[in-house]
Structure formats: structure tokens, C-alpha cells
Symmetry: C2
Subunit: 333 residues, 2 copies
């Protein structure tokens, strides 16, 4: 046994302070649907009878899902963004989240910055901190997010129909392309670095797009494992084939400038950590979404069959690159 039982009252005191600290954050104040927040054995949520509760859990581990010594403000932002993205993918409206935070020790300035980042992204997503647990151990976070969606209208991975368009909600590959910058292995012009690092550290969940896709998209998810791997998930769940036209996969100017076309494409296809939506859509709905100013990029179509096919600009099938590239040795979606 490395750890003998110890009487750790001062530590308990410190961690109790942390709880009070989180409880004081703006995002922990009362919100719609939250009947009881932080401070009791459980939080309490209400839900209208014609709605369902969407629930997702994500763990981020230091050295696996983010660098060992992250900027705490950015880590707070990223943790909320990554987790809420699953609600966007279901077409759900955020309600609240719990935070299970494991820390090697208590550092007030670290916690202040972390809470500011958490709070900022939580407010942008209109989601409330409703409970949690703070423990001592190697740095990691588990967020469980809750959203509401009208009964039967949640966007699942099953349901893609032959003939539907395959779409994504924005440029892909930025977060994966930003890795050498995240790891401080490379540097580049400030404007390019800022753009790419923001996509890694502050992924904005596509909540508005998710809501707009309710009753329209036949299948949806958020891209975390990489476009090809995640399209594989839709294809498998829906029992169809997805065909992607490589030339139509959108990439940002910043990524192309930083990484060059070949690496940029690899990041966009297989990089992961995009937290953009990928979805299948009957073509009739495309004009409405575009006219509403929503970011919808058609990158392919649904066909009969199975698996994912990638086509070059001549319509020839391209050998699929090694898919599901996992940063930091991650093994999680």
C-alpha cells in the first residue's frame, strides 16, 4: 500500500473550500429546470412530461486528453465545450452539468483561473453547474452534462437514409493541426496560432445548429474521433454506406497556412477533437438551413452498403488513411 489511512482534516477543509468556491461561480446559480443545485446529497432537476433528458459523461485525463500542465483557464473552457458538444449532437438544450474534479493538490490561483474558464464557457452554453465531487489524486475531470429535448426528437446516430446528403457543421482539422502549438513544439504567426489554439482550447458546441437539425437531420453526432471514424459510427448505426468527397471537406485558411495541404487534409479527415457536428440530411432541408445562415457544408452522400468511402476529385476511391488518430494516446470518445 502506497497510501496508509491518514487523518486529513486540514485537507478536507481545503477541499470543502473548493466546493464553496465552485458554488459561488456564476454558472452555479439557480437556473431554469434546476430545483436544487450544489450542496446536498443530490441535485434535483425537473422536466416537462413531453421532454426527455439527454445525458453524457466525458473524462479528460492529464497527459492523455490535454497536456500535463495545462493553462487552467483554458482547461476549464475546454472541459465544458467538449462535454456540451454531445448535447449539441443530440439536438438538446443544455440544462446543467456535474463536475468531478481530481486534483493533486490545492492551488488557489490555479482554481480561480480554472473556475473562470469553466464559468465563461458554461455561460456561453447557458448551462448550470449543479453538483460535483472534488477529490485528491492525479489531475483529471469527469463532466456529466444534462440537456432537454422534445420526446422522440433527439438526433441519434441511427436513421441515415440512402439518398440523404452527408454534411458537417464547419471546417475540420484545426484542433488536431494545433497540436504542435498546444505542445509548444512549434511556433507560427500570432494570428494563425491564435486561430488554431482557440479551436483546440475553446471548442464552441454547435448548439444552435443541433436545435435547427431537430426534425430534419436523419442522423447526427459530434466529431471527436475524426471525420472518417465518426462517419463510420453513423454508417454502422444506420446500416448504410457514407461516401465522402475529399475535395469538399472544409479546411480553414489558418490550418492550410500552418500545416500545408497534405497534413491539413490528414487532420481534417482523421484528426479528431473537432467538436463540429456531422449529420445526414434529406436534400429538401438544405436551402432552409443555409438561408438561416447556419454553417452547413455538404461533403458527401448516403448510399446503400456499409462503411465509409473517400473519393478524390476524379471520383476515384482513395485508400483510407489510418483513422481515429488519438491525441496524447487517448482512447476515449
Amino acid at each position: 500500500m502506497k497510501s496508509a489511512p491518514t487523518s486529513a482534516k486540514p485537507v478536507l477543509g481545503e477541499f470543502e473550500l473548493i466546493r464553496h468556491y465552485f458554488a459561488a461561480a456564476s454558472c452555479a446559480q439557480a437556473g431554469e429546470g434546476v430545483a436544487l443545485g450544489i450542496g446536498d446529497d443530490c441535485a434535483l432537476l425537473g422536466l416537462p412530461a413531453d421532454e426527455q433528458l439527454a445525458i453524457s459523461t466525458d473524462t479528460l485525463v492529464a497527459g492523455v486528453h490535454f497536456p500535463d500542465f495545462p493553462d487552467p483557464f483554458l482547461l476549464g473552457q475546454r472541459a465544458v465545450g467538449v462535454s456540451v458538444s454531445d448535447l449539441a449532437a443530440m439536438g438538446a438544450t443544455p440544462i446543467g452539468f456535474t463536475l468531478a474534479l481530481t486534483l493533486p493538490g490545492v492551488d488557489a490561483s490555479w482554481l480561480q483561473a480554472f473556475t473562470r474558464g469553466l464559468d465563461q464557457m458554461a455561460q456561453r452554453c447557458a448551462i448550470r453547474l449543479i453538483g460535483g465531487d472534488t477529490t485528491r489524486g492525479p489531475l483529471s475531470l469527469t463532466l456529466t452534462v444534462f440537456g432537454r429535448v422534445p420526446k422522440g426528437q433527439a438526433l441519434t446516430r441511427a436513421g441515415a437514409q440512402v439518398g440523404d446528403l452527408l454534411c458537417v457543421g464547419g471546417e475540420l482539422g484545426d484542433a488536431a493541426g494545433a497540436l504542435p502549438l498546444v505542445l509548444k513544439q512549434q511556433h507560427t504567426k500570432q494570428a494563425v496560432a491564435d486561430a488554431l489554439l482557440a479551436r483546440y482550447w475553446s471548442p464552441m458546441p454547435q448548439l444552435e445548429l443541433g436545435l435547427a437539425l431537430r426534425g430534419k437531420a436523419s442522423a447526427a453526432l459530434d466529431i471527436s474521433d475524426g471525420l472518417l471514424a465518426d462517419c463510420g459510427h453513423i454508417a454502422a448505426a444506420s446500416g448504410v454506406a457514407l461516401v465522402i468527397e475529399q475535395a469538399h471537406v472544409p479546411m480553414s485558411a489558418a490550418l492550410l497556412a500552418f500545416a500545408g495541404e497534405s497534413t491539413a487534409r490528414q487532420c481534417a479527415l482523421s484528426g479528431g477533437d473537432d467538436y463540429r457536428l456531422a449529420f445526414t440530411l434529406p436534400a429538401q432541408y438544405l436551402p432552409d438551413l443555409q438561408q438561416a445562415g447556419l454553417p452547413v457544408y455538404v461533403i458527401g452522400r448516403v448510399e446503400a452498403g456499409r462503411g465509409v468511402t473517400l473519393l478524390d476529385s476524379h471520383g476515384q476511391s482513395v485508400q483510407l488513411p489510418h483513422s481515429g488518430y488519438q491525441h496524447f494516446g487517448s482512447a476515449s470518445d
Copy 2:
């Protein structure tokens, strides 16, 4: 940076297998109120309009909340028992839970045993595994549990009234007393060891008692930090004083035999990890609960004032021992 980005597809494959593995567990099969379980971006729960959802998150870290190399079957049992206990404390009926499991590596026999333990306790609590995340890192688990409770009937920590009885749901101190056995620092007669170790590794949430207390108990929680510390939480939340008669705090024969009276009492008062309910109760409800065969031990009363007072058998105030003794250096409730 310790961890450079790596392409870890084989690892992803292993962890995907784990997810399929959990998805096949009995406790992951469809259940009441669970519209969509494991496998999509979110799980979906339904809830009648006259009910509220009770939510609680608990993290267990190796070397902090359990030994570094635990028996995986027992760890699975304990993780579910500890987490569901928060639902019992609110008077909630379990619905489902998510499991965020962080593992240093993949070991099939470890996972099989862990899942059996998890499944067994989940079935005893009638709770379903509805989602989760499996990641690589130092061994830890975060469970988020969901239960339902009629609107306005949840048992909170606030509400204790002057004149109420202070009660607990069973003998206290066994889990804390079992620590030298858990750590294999001491041995004792098999029957005694079995009884104490079971209380540490397989704490049965007092769900039936929690349900029976709805509409009767004025405040309730489950004892995790130790009787004195947790009574302090009720006193603070309710704005009252709690008086405990030391001689009335129930202790098991096994604990007394193993630890002797003095240590046993310290475990019962401050040991923590009991996962028995502590609650305040208007005296008129006591006969009904006792006649229903529920475990209700009156250990004191609610008075005007603040804080917790411990009385000896002569009615004299006893100096409070160092409270909130935390096993393994834990800093969590």
C-alpha cells in the same frame, strides 16, 4: 511534456471492446424510464411531470478511496453502493447511472470481475448502466447516478426542527473499523473479518428506508464523512443544534470484537464510509417505521442552537473527537 501525441488505434480498439463489454452487462439492458442507453452521444431518460430527477456524482481514486490494487469484483460492488447511497439519502428511486472508468491498461480478467461486481450491486439496487466513458490513465472511477422522486418530496439536509428525534439507519463504524483488514495489516477470525469487510466493500444503500422516510423525515443524508461531521452538515443546513447520546450510537458485535470498545466508538462517531442514513424525525412517525421493520435507531434529538453536541451516559458533554476522519487521505464526500 511527458506524453507526446501518438497514433493509438490499437488502444482505441481495446477500449472500444471495453464499451461493448459493459454494454452487454445485464445492468445495461433496457429499463423503465431509459429511452436510449449506451452507444450514442447521449443517453435519454424520460420522467413524469410530477417527479424530479435526483443526480449525484462520486469519484473514487485508487490509493485515496480504495487500495491501490483492489479486488476488481469488490471495487465494482463498492463503486455502485457508495454512489447509489446518495439516492437513498434523498428518498429517490434509482433509474440509471453513468460510469467514467479510467484504467492504466486493459486486462480482460480484471474487467470481467469488475463488471460482475458492478452488475451484481446494480441489480440489487435496480439501477441501469446507461452510458459512460472509458479512458486511459491512473485508476479511478466517477459514477453519476440518477433517481426519481415525487416533486417536493426529496429528503434534503435542511428542514430539521427543534424537538425532532435524531436517528440513524443501522450500526456505525464497521467500514472504518475494517480498514486494517482492507489494508491487510491485521487479521482476525473469519466470521468477524467477513462481516466487517462486507460492510466496507459492499455497502448496501438504504433505499427502502429512504423511500419510507419521504413525507416523514425532516432532514436526511447518508453518512460518508462520519456521524459527527455529517450531523454537522444537517445542523448547518437546518440552522439547528443536534445532540447525540453517545451510548445510543449502535455498534456491531463484530466491530466491538475486533476493535474493542474505545476504537469501535471512535469509528462509529468519526470513521465515515458507513453509507447508513442519518435523519431527523418528528417523534410521531417513529412507531410506524419501527412496526414496518425498518432499521431506525434513535441516537439523539434536535435542539435550538447550532453545531453538534455529544453527551456521555451521565448527560455530560463530551469533548468532540477529531471529526471527519478520512481514509486513505480522502478529501471527498
